[in-house]
């Protein structure tokens, strides 16, 4: 099953053993719009993969299919089977406004039927893990956009999932908060040893975060290119200003432009 992906940036190195396997998946909405057409994608255990593409290319649909929140019209998706093995972070923080930060984070554990003491302890740990110790009793409206997103990430991680799916989670944040969350997310990823599939429309964000980038093109959405970002971790703010980073961003932009040019021709 070790298929390599030949692209302009070279052969992508994937960790052995895939946790997600998307095989020839297509998805058409009831309206007749084809969101995905024949997508094949593997995600290795422990990998940080970004799915990069323009708005409306079906990235969110792909993520929902991987999560099992939607079913493909054809093809096959393999994912971790356990109920609490997948965490999902939406574009908005998606918190329950009537519940405190702690209660929001504890929600998946509550739905899993854990005891009150156990779920509050673990939710407290998860909140500390995203740098929000001391905000347990705050309500979402009392938190900034970046803090709300941290709560959302803590909630996704509280069940100790093997797979974390993120749908443009930082798109609505200001740049300062976004850069800080990028670094903190990488720290969490390495600490929790979780596999991340990160959907974004930002070239800069995908290059900074990922081990590997899959570029999607639209109408119907499909994987146009896959390539590795070989820079070792930990990556910090120094990487963001390095010549290396600039070169990788330029290559990635070219890949994205090429994918979209094909799309224009096809249309």
């Amino acid at each position: 099953m070790d298929r390599s992906h030949q692209t302009g940036a070279g052969i992508a190195a994937r960790p052995s053993g895939s946790i997600v396997s998307v095989r020839g998946v297509s998805r058409t909405f009831a309206s007749g719009v084809q969101a995905l057409g024949d997508v094949t994608l593997d995600v290795g255990e422990g990998e940080f993969l970004s799915v990069l593409g323009p708005s409306g290319c079906g990235k969110t649909t792909l993520l929902r299919l991987i999560a099992g929140l939607a079913q493909p019209n054809s093809g096959k998706v393999e994912r971790p089977a356990g109920r609490n093995e997948i965490g999902f972070v939406f574009q908005e923080p998606t918190l329950m406004p009537w519940a405190t930060a702690l209660a929001n984070v504890a929600l998946p554990l509550r739905l899993a039927g854990l005891s009150r003491a156990e779920r509050l302890r673990r939710a407290g740990e998860a909140l500390s893990g995203v740098g929000l110790a001391g905000f347990e009793r705050s309500y979402p409206r009392e938190l900034s956009g970046g803090m709300k997103m941290r709560v959302s990430i803590a909630r996704a991680l509280v069940t100790r999932p093997r797979l974390l799916l993120m749908d443009e989670p930082f798109a609505a944040l200001d740049e300062i908060a976004r850069h800080k969350l990028n670094i903190d997310l990488l720290t969490l990823w390495q600490r929790e040893r979780v596999t991340v599939v990160f959907v974004t429309h930002s070239v800069f964000e995908s290059v900074f975060l990922s081990q590997r980038i899959a570029i999607m093109s639209a109408r119907p959405g499909r994987i146009a290119a896959e390539f590795a970002i070989p820079t070792p971790y930990p990556r910090d703010e120094a990487f963001r200003t390095s010549a290396d980073y600039a070169a990788l961003c330029r290559q990635t932009s070219q890949q994205l432009a090429a994918a979209m040019a094909v799309e224009v021709q096809a249309a």
């Binding site: 109920r83 609490n84 908005e92 998606t94 329950m96 929600l107 739905l111 409206r141 069940t159």
Partner: protein, 258 residues
Amino acid sequence: MSAKAIAPLVLGALILVLWEQAVRLLAIPPYILPGPLVIARTLVDDWALLAPSLWVTLGITLEALAAAVVIGGLLAILFSLSRWVELSLFPYAIILQVTPIVAIAPLIIIWANNVDLSLLICAWLVAFFPILSNTILGLRSVDRNLLSLFELYGAGRWRTLLHLRLPAALPYFLGGLRISGGLALIGAVVAEFVAGTGGNASGLAWRILEAGYQLKVPRMFAALVLISATGIAIFLALTLLSHLLLRRWHESALAAQE
């Protein structure tokens, strides 16, 4: 006290003073228009007669409101759980709502064969619809992504209802409750007018009718004042309840603080 509270109070006091002066200067007899002081004195003098009626009207109103909360709320939950139940029943709920209560009250009084019960049914009929329709709206107005999240964690229909739909519907329900509180009182008063008599004990509407027959206009006004005061008290109590339940998180309660 803020200017927001003082302004209407000052206006109210001014109107009462003008009213009293007008009645005196124009020498209007109290059986046409009593002044505020005469009404206040009647309220005190007739308290022994009016107070029991007040409790009767208040009792029917609160019972009808409680029934509206229970039945309206349960129907809303049922409708939200089953599309077919809603499609079948909702049109009839609308028919009940749009038919004037005055028109069906005589039938209800005949069928119920018990004045107190028929008054309760009438007041309930008027009161339950805002709770039903608002709660249905609230149960539906749930963040799509939160619903996806509950689905992801395998929460079934009941736990989604309990932990997500019901809390999300609370502000809508409370909005409906405030409307229903006033409507329950109106329903109770209207039904008693139609019945033309109280049951074992008479309510304020009957006191107004009775005083009208006897041309005791100040007593009519006194009963009217009590009905208005009851309506205001119900509204304030429900507003307070709403504020206490929502103040930590809901926009409507936050706007009031600022």
